[in-house]
Assembly symmetry: D2
């Protein structure tokens, strides 16, 4: 293999730049020509492709977002789109691909590999932490710290006004961010897609704690489990607190990556290039107990990541 | 004067604790007995009053919110409410009051002073920076840094997806936070209560910049000038960007205070106690060119703080 | 088991308070009486022991350091000292102990358990990450982020002045912090106890990069591998940069814990109490691939944690 | 005036990039050609000069350091050096200069202006806050927040181990950073060049507080008032605490600028270009009570900035 390409796809997550940097620099150091493909699969289809060298990726590790930009590319889900993409690869002489992104992006990579034979290594980058077989995805740690920081700020003002806050965080399918941030901030409850919630019971518990002297109340809701406004409507008049809502929104995607995400992304980026050099065809880099290894991408996308529900218990027990 | 009281009132702002600490410690060092009054004027009416000493305020300077808690107290706007408050002061032997809060709180302090003669020194604590005669209010600097940090995060993801973000920030009457954060983040525009906005013209300008190659667009809206959603509706289909909204909400009130707010609050707290000891009756501590001085509170509340509109020009010129 | 004690021992690390909170609250929820022992084994010997309840640990999770305080206790390394400690346990009716600390503290716990039979569960809290069988220790993640943040600041000024910085970080026996922070900041080199360094070769490489146009140079040294001043003396006149040193020192121990450390500490604290309830005698909580499990403490202290040296290569390859 | 140049000189300070951006963009918007001069006066002498446009300064506001780099340039203090500099200006057609830097840089600008007639507007950028006639210099606020953050981290570990920390901070001539950070963190004392210190008296006071139950002790020393090690030697065996030192060093110069520094720098940069357009010859932009105005540079450099020593009292009174 002499020439590879790298792209970021789907929702951006902090640390993607560290992964790009690692792919480019490790590739170049190992004699490869490395192309950067802009705006995910869309740029692959359009030929928005340019060579990157050691200097192109200087100073990007600490930046949020992705310098290659990203997109959700409908056209790549069509056979025609993928054919155009394959033609672009041929045109630029790209023999292998590193795809940094979430579940949809990995799924696309499998289809593309099967149809056109091009080796594709996936690197799991998504703040949802919903990819199986890896302990963590790139961006999750930064996102979690952003959420914890925001909730801590809300607690300041919640206590001062003796209020409840219903905080809506990211997580369409997964309650990971909601549950972990709830534990890490001592929130009273997390409402997550994985566990059905009895609002009356919740309200009762909160009222109980209010009576025992609690000065604030934080309930974290994963967007996939309900809207903050809905939750507020259902419980606010039963819990004894004045209630406010806060939707954290897109700040959860940004920010300079944490040390953890920089290291994870760097190691996964390096491992992805090694995999291409080793002749791997369609695998994904994963973190297992501190080691970066490879798992067949089909295996990854066909498994549903499970949330450890004993943590759900723990959240309630400790608050 | 032997005994004073201190309370925080209205919306909380970061740095209020540093002011409380300064009032208590400077008071105690100068032989005063200092009472902390909980939940603003409400606690004054209810007699939620307890003595504070040097140790009671240890380790609170770095905390957001207010350990005395706060409220917007309707009852204090009635003559009966204020009478109850005056009785409580008599009961606890409190001869002078330090009121930390925004414009409403200062207004209340003037009425109360006029009716019952009790000396009241105001300390301007509000993230709105809408109090006249002082360069800054306690909490504004921290709030501004929180907003700048959040917008910076939004820019990361805005650039990655080539999107526009309409960011709604605090400021019911004042565009200070919106305008300053727009300048400090290089946002494309600020929409503020002080300046009428021509949405078509704005949209045209943004479209122009998009065509010239800009990869993101940030518009900051003060809540008093419109809702983020409205703004998005009015411009999103004319500017050439996919548009998202972000309402920063209550995180703007929280957080460990910046160095600036800790210093400002500490100095104002000390100055307020000095004022009581000096026999001042109804004044407010203000910051003027690095010095803390006193201004008659009636003068303060009867003046409208003006925003320097040359900064509005500057924002647009530089983005 | 009806009554347990918890202490923090050795160097403090961020997250210890989250562990204390979890031990206390999980204990209380499960019907235990929980005593907090001050200043590590010293307080155990002196009887500086007091009961903690749900409220005692409110609001401590986000604080650096340890509310129980800590010490390195020489007397506990004597038989007499440990006998006094055992007597105190008897006096307070404490039937099991949770010890949060580093390797020395765990070693002490094994001796104590063997001599007096008291069940002791270890919780690995140390910023050195030098404890075997666990993926991470409490405090390491926060420390690493503090170091990365500091080095990023040094890079700003290094680039502005075209300088080299030799940065000394913690790690007497382990190069973990040095190596990981070097990778996460794109430093030119890490000097660590695990790998002998050829200073001439290093200087040559740095000179080479300087000639190729690099505008700054960061070398991270673990304190166990040499002093920053020494390193500067050995290479500064050969690398073509003006050189400065920076010793990060004790700021590495402080700071509000990251989300990772809060979660790790909370989960380990809960697991430690469960272990005591389950009748475990002398085990340590460890993190393995996202799960918290137990390992015999003797096994833990008799194994030397190895640093993954492929990361050392990677650091140099990517900078 | 059709063509101007901008340079940064002396020690770098956070916010310099925001000033550069403002000079370039405001200049370009007003029809000027703007040249960036590298490495301060050295680059001016060497002709390291290149045109900057709107895009050259995109995304730099949030970065620490200075993209133009900086130096302390001995040659500019010679007549020959300044002649070379004047020749370069002529060669590039530069008719006016904006010099961003500290006192030495402003002094150089006066000499240069007097000898060669070129209009030079100074912009005070230095973390020392030792420039007269301006409430603040660019970089001071960021530096102060970095110091406060670091001391807060030291307090965590100081309390946990019941230790004293002697913290050395920047400030060769001025105790501003030391004193302000001491107040903002509740440190026990500040040792500054402006006030002679009686070490025995200090030690006695600290011992007194230790006896009253204080669990930590922080003493902040400005580098111009002594070395941390010396201070530790003089007091450590008399204060009843185990003592550690921490030299914060160059991290104080770095970091993404705070909102305050971004705004100050932006406004001063704009004002500097306006001054050149208005025909000013040798003035410096200053902040006075929230307004940016101009003061004759000779006036600025011939005045010594005074520290408000009532704050020194306050520091001790409140701790």
């Amino acid at each position: 293999m002499k020439t590879i390409g790298v792209l970021t796809s789907g929702g951006d997550s902090p640390g993607m730049n560290a992964a790009i940097r690692a792919v480019v620099r490790y590739g170049v150091r190992n004699g490869l020509k490395v192309f950067g493909i802009e705006r995910g699969y869309c740029g692959l289809i359009d030929g928005a492709i340019k060579e990157l060298n050691f200097a192109s990726v200087a100073g990007i590790m600490e930046k949020g977002g992705t310098i290659l930009r990203t997109s959700r590319c409908g056209e790549f889900f069509t056979r025609e789109g993928r054919e155009k993409a394959a033609n672009q690869l041929a045109k630029f002489g790209i023999e292998g691909l590193v795809v940094i992104g979430g579940e949809g992006s990995l799924t696309g990579s499998v289809t593309f590999h099967k149809e056109f034979g091009v080796p594709v290594i996936g690197v799991p980058g998504t703040i949802d932490n919903d990819i199986a077989h890896t302990d963590m995805c790139i961006g999750v740690d930064t996102c979690l710290n952003t959420v914890v920081d925001a909730i801590q700020k809300l607690k300041d003002t919640a206590t001062s006004h003796e209020r409840a806050f219903i905080v809506e965080v990211m997580g369409r399918e997964s309650g990971y961010i909601a549950l972990m941030s709830a534990i890490a901030t001592g929130a009273e409850a997390a409402i997550i897609p994985e566990v059905p919630i009895d609002f009356d019971q919740l309200a009762e518990r909160l009222l109980e704690e209010r009576k025992r002297g609690k000065l604030n109340c934080i309930v974290v809701v994963a967007e996939g489990a309900g809207k903050a406004e809905e939750v507020a409507r259902k419980i606010s008049n039963k819990i004894g607190y004045e209630t406010r809502i806060s939707i954290l929104g897109h700040i959860q995607r940004g920010g300079s990556p944490t040390a953890f995400d920089r290291l994870l992304a760097t190691r996964m980026g390096v491992r992805a290039v090694q995999a291409l050099l080793d002749g791997e065809k369609c695998a994904t880099t994963v973190l297992k107990s501190g080691q970066i290894t490879l798992i067949d991408t089909e295996e990854v996308i066909s498994t549903k990541k499970k949330l450890d529900l004993s943590l759900y218990e723990m959240c309630m027990t400790l608050s």
